[in-house]
Subunit: 245 residues, 2 copies
């Protein structure tokens, strides 16, 4: 297979970066690569707030649940779903704004993710490492205040970018048979495949640099889905104008 | 800049494909490339239903608002956000399932989009063309019935994949200054930049192969946000178990 496929298969999050900065021209090219991604109904509903201010970086590192790489990466950005930019033009053209439907939320959120991931592919292709920071949703209100995000805009995730100063192992993924189904959804063979995968994940944690928590995939995700995950999100989003009509 | 960056910058949707099939080994490699993408909390909340059945393909092409390329592309997949696979293990480990928070919806939806976009980057790097099909959300209920999607699973978008039999122009994107902000959200200079971009978009439609509707970006998106966009989504998602707690 070609080198792009190999590159994408070998992604892992990077949390230690060298001091090497990212040239402004390179950064712009990476954003343009991100912008090349498909956008639903041509909305282009993503806005990147790049955080350069040191104090803000430190603050966000804390708000994201103490992730120091937010402050230390060569570049850190918050990717925002943005319905304000387009919504401004409703008023301009004398139309009422109805952009608070669940569908609008999906469109904008997907736009953000597609753009970010294309940017990530571009970044990794030039030797940069990345780490998504979903942890900003621990404190979306304070993060939004810090970045002065208006109504119609919400911070989906952060992204650290820089030249890697570590070389972590690749985390094994679910078997293909579990992920890809033909013609209809079914779980035939999944239990067995997941049990064998669970063993692989335990091995990964046991042997990787620095050790690790050694629990299986199924154990990890069962915790995630048995907890009230970030229950503040609904209220926060409503305040930002995303009301899931 | 390197070839990956150039590739990503030059993406455009492909809706006409040659008869050439996609080798099974290549397809699997593309999925693995997609799986390489980051996944929030290790959830791996994406399931791909590849639709091979001819009758189902034709039916989905209609349900997506008459998009014949859904039936004619070498491969067509529905990308689903999947909380069922992980949720099964809550019961298994004697935990209650609480996976219906807004946050869980975001995590799974973003997982799907990141995976799809990495797969798209891989596909385009080997000369394939793609087209996202958000139109399946016109009729998410019938699509889900056809694919037997259970509670905890929802179809986010479709994806056509095949060797291009057309070479459409690249659609211009918003100026970088509008998309990237520093340290805080602001709209300084945006109006002027968007007005100039609007002219560029009008030109694009006027000159591209086959002509086009010739309306600006701001006009298009103001329509999108002044309409009740797919108002059935909220109810449909609730039925699938996504209740936005």
């Amino acid at each position: 297979m070609n080198s792009v496929v190999e590159l994408l298969k070998s992604h892992r999050s990077i949390r230690k970066f060298t001091e090497r900065p990212i040239e402004p021209e390179l950064f712009e090219e990476l954003v343009r690569a991100g912008q090349g991604a498909a956008t639903s109904s041509f909305l282009q509903g993503a806005t990147i707030v790049r955080v350069k201010d040191r104090a803000k970086r430190e603050k966000i590192a804390q708000l994201a649940g103490n992730q120091p790489w937010v402050a230390s990466a060569a570049a850190f950005m918050i990717f925002c779903a943005d319905l304000k930019r387009a919504g401004n033009w409703c008023r301009e053209y004398g139309k009422s704004f109805e952009g608070d439907f669940t569908e609008h939320f999906i469109i904008a959120t997907v736009d953000v993710a597609l753009m970010a991931q294309s940017m990530v592919c571009a970044a990794e292709s030039v030797g940069l490492g990345i780490c998504y920071i979903g942890g900003i949703r621990n404190n979306p209100g304070p993060v939004s205040e810090l970045l002065e995000l208006p109504r119609g805009v919400y911070p989906v995730f952060g992204l650290c970018l820089g030249y890697p100063a570590q070389d972590p192992e690749i985390k094994p993924r679910l078997p293909l048979s579990v992920i890809v189904k033909e013609d209809c959804y079914n779980e035939q063979g999944d239990r067995k495949a997941i049990e064998s995968y669970d063993a692989q994940v335990r091995d990964y944690y046991a042997t990787r640099t620095g050790g690790g928590h050694g629990i299986s995939w199924s154990e990890q995700v069962s915790v995630l889905l048995s907890e009230k995950s970030r229950p503040h999100m609904r209220g926060f989003l409503a305040e930002q104008g995303f009301t899931f009509r």
